[in-house]
Amino acid sequence: MEIMTLVVTGPVGAGKSTFIRTVSEIDVVDTDRRATDETASLKHRTTVAFDFGRLQFGRNRALHLYGTPGQSRFDFMWDILIRKAQGYVVLVAANRPNEFRYSRRILTFMQHRSRVPLIIAISHSDCEGAWTPENILVAMGYNAQKPAPPVVIVDPRNRASVAKSIVKLVQSAMQYTRSFSKAG
């Protein structure tokens, strides 16, 4: 089995679980939801468990998607992600400017530690108070000196839209693969 591992991250409510559920062919365990359903004694689970989804294709190939849980700290979990993930989707809800800071933290953290392709996927663009992608990128600290990674507008509830953003990421992954084959 040949597997590509993608990580879907972003603040709580950005649409990570929905994104994964929408492309996955298996039932997605929504770890955040499970935390509210079960007792408080299980609470710490949510700090270590990931949403998981899978898309099989070809004869022996699959895409695995992991969603980061909660508003997590940059602990060993992130260390695991950096080692494992072959691409990231950072989901940002356009209508929640109070979370831009947390998303920026994730981006800073990842971009200084990993060269793996990532995209910024802007969700909730249909909601009241949504910022434009342009302004969101400025709020994330991108400018002429610091160009942003590829950006897509996504509706995590819509399969075609989710597929389109993964395609965008896959395109970056192709360049990444080529940079490897050039180098080595």
Binding site: D51, F57, I80, R83, R105, V116
Partner: protein, 311 residues
Amino acid sequence: MFGSLSDFSLGELFQVLEQGEKTGRLTIYSGRRGESQKDRISQTPPRNYYIWFRRGFIVAAANSLDNQGLSKLIDQRSWIEGGTSVLAPGFCNVNLPLGICFKSHGLITAEQLKLLFSVQVLRQVCQLFTLLHGRYHFDEKAPLAYPEMTGLSAPATDVTLAGLRNLKDWSALEDKLPEPDSAILSLVEGKPHLKLNQSELRVWEFADGTVALKDVAARLDLSLEKVRKIAFRLSVVNLAEEFPLLISASDMMNLSLDDEFVDDENNLFFMEEQAVKAEAPVRKSNSQEFIAPPPMSDDFLQELMRSLNNS
């Protein structure tokens, strides 16, 4: 762009307007959303404040849209004989800042203009940083208010620095402050171009992305709260950015792990890696050593793309 200052603070807003080199009018409404006259707590009635931006610079401020603010400031000082109202309508070109018009006619001096700008913009806007629950609206289509303009401008972040230094009540900014476990990383080459005060400079010395703010506080013998506020200031004026550090394994010791849920497919990922982790050294935060999982083959990616496009 519109919303609540409790979600996106004035400092953050100024940062976006400056970095995005925006032109337009920012309206700040001091009341809460839907707040009516009778359930108001504060004594002063809510009101609007207006700040005009040109390519990210603040060019004017007023608390009314009557275009009379700057003229009133001049009249209060009796700088023009008989007051600005004696001037014929159309005396100044409507597309020229009033200050420049008056100066070119020798009615006021460059020094007086500077003073006017400082009263109109710096003093007025600095006070707005104390509005913790107001609402904002930025209108990129609003025209510049030339009758309110001195012709001078200030970078929005200069005003932010002053506004936040004087701020006493930080309650609304509490969850925006950089985390104690984060470091800060300089965003500029060499020395900061803004004039920093003593304690800001001391914290700035640590802007290399290696020392957690809680350790900066200990080393400088400043309170953690103070260091976090300074780090926030440095970040909203684009001198530095919050740089999250990987929380080291020793800090995580108190996190208990049970293996009862290893059977969940989604947790295998975690458990399997946890084993790897046991041997793996914890990297220093700012090392330029990038971690690179093996890339996928071109063939794999092509097939994935076809499958996604067909789905």
